[in-house]
């Protein structure tokens, strides 16, 4: 498994984002919590859930 700075560098390079070393370190500090947060979304309750790609706030399907 790659270390956090290497992962972050790869992701930012892939996006072609160029920044100072100080800013890069900010992303390195941010990344673990961001990744943990994103991973926490994969909850069991969504196992068979369809994504809301066409969003309708009306609740008409739940009436």
């Amino acid at each position: 498994m790659t270390d956090v700075p290497t992962t972050v560098r790869s992701l930012l390079d892939a996006a072609q984002l160029k920044m100072s070393e100080e800013e890069f370190q900010l992303f390195v500090r941010m990344y673990p919590a961001l990744r943990t947060g994103a991973d926490s979304m994969y909850i069991a309750e969504t196992r068979y859930e369809e994504p809301a790609l066409v969003f309708d706030p009306s609740w008409k399907d739940f009436a």
């Binding site: 972050v8 992701l11 930012l12 892939a14 996006a15 072609q16 984002l17 160029k18 920044m19 800013e23 900010l26 992303f27 500090r29 941010m30 990344y31 919590a33 961001l34 990744r35 947060g37 994103a38 926490s40 979304m41 994969y42 909850i43 309750e45 969504t46 859930e49 369809e50 994504p51 809301a52 790609l53 969003f55 706030p57 009306s58 609740w59 739940f62």
Partner: protein, 469 residues
């Protein structure tokens, strides 16, 4: 001239009673802006000449018996990410094309002008409605009128300050994860995040395409209702605008909450260690007051509210990064230093994360619909704490920490921030009333009924009292 009314409702009555003219009101508020704006950083552009012209027209109309409704002759502000014909739209950024939105009104502004509202200018926003103020970026720094050392929150900070300090009687904000409600809470007034699609957002710079909404910010729920009645309704230029009927929102404000079913989600919303005891106490007291007035209150559980809040963040991170990616590549340093990490973090997430956020959205919408099937509204705190000291604001921490607003954007629900007290050091406290989709009427009725029991919404910051005197 008579004393300047605090609210749209009172000003509208005074205009019709002949106690005040729109020109007098507009000029008095322009004078206040002139006195206070350097300290408060509320406006980036003031359109005094066109405001006075609109005020003269309003006075002439009313004199001839032409009455365009409660906003006729009322001074308002417009957040600087919404197009207005008489002032540039900058998004408080050096990035946005200076021709964007030039010389035309967004539909929501057009509707307000057609209703006789007097647009006073563009209010300060966090850059592109995200991030924190950057003193090196050349734009005004918004400051909390209750304590200049504290944050005015964001992103609709200028609109919040302008309403709280009495520089305008109403303003437009936008809300993607709390950007109407957070400044309403920090600055001590009322602010409504509307149902997604309720108000057309064509002519507004996007942040999160599937989350953004334009909402009214004003001192009271009644004033927000009056604004929303004009702002709401379908517009084909916004593909997400809802073709739903627009009720008479002020007509539903009868002060009655007898039988109103209120859900109080204790878990996450009231038991988080980050929640200030003062905020918690004030919100619970507000709920008790509604209960004493006849509301039926019961504890409920909103499952995975914390995950829904994260899904909101992941969604807008992806949507905002799509909008900004090329500019971030090519003009990184032109963005503010606090904006860059907020927008570029979208590069650290992947497509599956975005889709999973939309699966959480489906799940959470279904879950909340079930919880609210026998409720009318939910009540929570708006923010975990009173306004932080400006230097203590850490957007990254805020994104990753407990928050009570973004999950409602995820599923598009209306939510009203209502002042409910003051902290021991004199900063406003706020509670949030969340309703069912397109049921702003019940949310506003609840807020209005509460505001008939209390006076918090009429409190004026000392800095504004000094100028008024």
């Amino acid at each position: 001239m008579t004393e300047i009314p605090l609210t749209i409702k009172k000003a509208a009555a005074a205009l019709r009673d002949g106690q005040i003219t729109s020109v007098d009101l507009t000029q008095a508020l322009l004078d206040r802006i002139n006195h206070l704006n350097d300290q408060l950083g509320a406006f980036i552009a003031v359109t005094g000449d066109s405001a006075l012209a609109a005020a003269r027209q309003a006075d002439a109309d009313l004199h001839r018996g032409i009455d365009r409704g409660p906003l006729h002759g009322i001074p308002i502000g417009v957040k600087d990410i919404i197009a207005t014909r008489d002032a540039p739209t900058t998004a408080n950024s050096h990035i946005l094309d200076r021709n964007w939105g030039a010389h035309w009104d967004a539909p929501v502004v057009e509707r307000l002008r057609n209703a006789g509202a007097v647009v006073m200018g563009k209010t300060v926003t966090s850059e592109f409605a995200c991030g924190s103020p950057d003193p090196d970026n050349g734009f005004p720094i918004p400051r909390n009128p209750w304590n200049l050392e504290h944050s005015a929150a964001g992103s609709s900070a200028g609109s919040g300050i302008a309403v709280a300090a009495g520089l305008v009687l109403g303003a437009l904000g936008t809300d993607t994860g709390g950007s109407v409600r957070a400044p309403a809470a920090a600055n001590g007034h009322t602010g409504l995040k509307v149902t997604f699609g309720r108000v057309p957002k064509y002519g507004c710079v996007p942040l999160g395409y599937s989350l953004d909404s334009i909402g009214p910010m004003a001192r009271t729920a009644w004033d927000c209702a009056a604004m929303l009645g004009i702002m709401a309704g379908f517009d084909p230029r916004d593909p997400t605008a809802a073709d739903e009927p627009v009720p008479d929102y002020t007509a539903s404000l009868n002060g009655k909450v007898a039988g109103l079913r209120i859900g109080v989600p204790t878990s996450y919303f009231f038991d988080a260690p980050e929640l200030s005891p003062e905020v918690k106490s004030a919100v619970l007291q507000g709920i008790d007051q509604l209960k004493a007035a006849g509301a039926i209150v019961r504890e409920v559980t909103i499952p995975h509210a914390d995950i829904a809040k994260i899904a909101n963040n992941v969604t807008w991170a992806g949507e905002a990064f799509a909008y900004h990616r090329d500019d971030l590549r090519e003009r990184w340093s032109l963005y503010g230093r606090f904006t860059r990490p907020m927008l570029a973090r979208g590069a650290l997430l992947n497509g599956a994360d975005f889709i999973q956020a939309q699966r959480v959205r489906s799940y959470f919408q279904r879950s909340v619909a079930a919880v609210m099937s026998d409720l009318d509204v939910l009540i929570t705190p708006t923010s975990t704490t009173p306004a932080e000291k400006a230097g203590d604001v850490d957007m990254t921490r805020r994104l990753l920490g407990v928050s009570y607003t973004g999950m409602w954007n995820l599923i598009g629900l209306p939510a009203l921030a209502v002042p409910c007290g003051f902290s021991s050091d004199g900063l406003p406290l706020s509670m949030q009333i969340v309703g069912k989709p397109f049921d702003e009427a019940t949310v506003l009725r609840t807020g209005d009924a509460y505001q008939r029991l209390v006076q918090w919404q009429l409190s004026v910051p000392p800095i504004a009292q000094a100028v008024a005197a």
